[in-house]
């Protein structure tokens, strides 16, 4: 490797990788510093402030454990981890809710409309809520998290082709729903906002 006109024959080409691999904690902290705010925003958009900190801690704990497997483009990977962490949290909460309902001998509501964790325009929330979970996530990864479809597909854990299909379906459905709504024939179920 020639440096400043000086050549050292014993100098390996992969020296940076060798040195980079020497300190796990430093690597993790660099990853954390580089992506913390983006992952935080991702979590806030989906679960709100009350759960975001737990989601972040769990997500980065997974990153710490699997540090050697984190790809160079780490952000979609981290979004994917955060997505699964959120799903686990929500599953736990749902189970808890179902248990309470069963104890109260109340039939649980099967509608399970999506509720935005933080303030989103009501009309949009209803429209987004009418999408399937996958379609909604595809749309939000692009519109809110600013990922291009290729990176968003990695975050969603599917192929680029499948992702494009989901995104296409989501957009087509929203256009149709909004058109129906504007013509006054909407049959979207509006969920009453809880105070």
């Amino acid at each position: 490797v020639a440096v400043g006109g000086v050549t050292d024959p014993g100098y390996p080409d992969n020296w940076l990788a060798m040195v980079s691999g020497t300190d796990r904690r430093a690597r993790f902290e660099a990853l954390f510093a580089a992506h913390y705010w983006a992952v935080r925003a991702y979590a806030l958009r989906r679960v709100g402030a009350s759960l975001a900190e737990d989601v972040l801690a769990d997500t980065f704990l997974v990153a710490w454990r699997r540090l050697d497997h984190v790809p160079d483009d780490a952000l979609p990977w981290l979004f994917g981890v955060a997505r699964r962490v959120i799903a686990n949290h929500l599953r736990g909460e749902r189970r808890h809710g179902e248990l309470i309902n069963r104890l109260k001998n109340v039939i649980p509501s099967s509608s399970a409309l999506w509720e935005p964790p933080i303030s989103v325009d009501h009309e949009l929330a209803v429209v987004l809520g009418s999408l399937s979970e996958r379609e909604r996530e595809a749309l939000l990864l692009v519109a809110w998290d600013g990922l291009d479809p290729a990176r968003a597909a990695r975050a969603a854990g599917c192929t680029a082709v499948a992702f494009r299909a989901r995104l296409h379906r989501a957009r087509r459905r929203i256009v149709a729903l909004l058109a129906e709504k504007s013509s006054g024939t909407s049959h979207i179920k509006l969920k009453e906002k809880t105070p």
Partner: protein
Amino acid sequence: MNAKDWVVARVADANPVAQVGRPSSRDEAEAERVLQRVLDAAGKQRSARPRAMGFVSIGALAASAVIVVAVVALVTFGHGRPATTTPHRAARSGSFALTPKPPVRNPPAINVPPGMLVLASLGVHHGARFFIYGQRIRFAGRLYFCLFVGNQTMGSSQICPPWPLRHEPTPVVTGGFSPKFELAAAVAPRDETCTIVGLPGGPYRTSRAPIPPALKVGGDVYYSFVTFPGASAGQLQPFGLGAGYFSLGGNVRCHR
């Protein structure tokens, strides 16, 4: 804009957490808390690893068995042995494992330029040749080195290889510095005349080549550079194109 693009734009407009501005001190405190939580949890997991425990107990069991056998053998057969047999082999090999670790110095809180303070904290004194590998980033009021810093005496034409970093424990600097170090962080544009804080000489010049972004933190991009030895006018190159005697990207100040 077609209807489909309009949908994405409409949803994007309603983004409830748009990334604008710098995070507040409260947000940064939250980030610190999360980081500490993760590191604590990681530390706990590592210390409570069941596999390691298994090895320890198996090892302890094996050692006990060896000691018992040795004592029995000594009691049974030991009387006939000549007293001149040298029993030092075990003690000698044990001494190899007792090589003391070099002390790691704490960063001194003194009024010196940030760059020199960093170096002094690593035991690199004024006038000494040194090298720093890796990027530095500022996060949550702290300055972090991603990698290692080392020092050694080098000839003017020598390139410092990474080998010593592998063989000698080198101080790892992650955090713990004064928030003053935030001043050291700067974004250096291309082909600009610069000075380097804490480094006499210069003026230096940033690379004309595209400078790869090192890390983006809270909207700021931080770079690392490498200077080449022997360049009287000084030359800064993007870190990674080569290795020099030091990289002080965070300490670059540029003048137009």
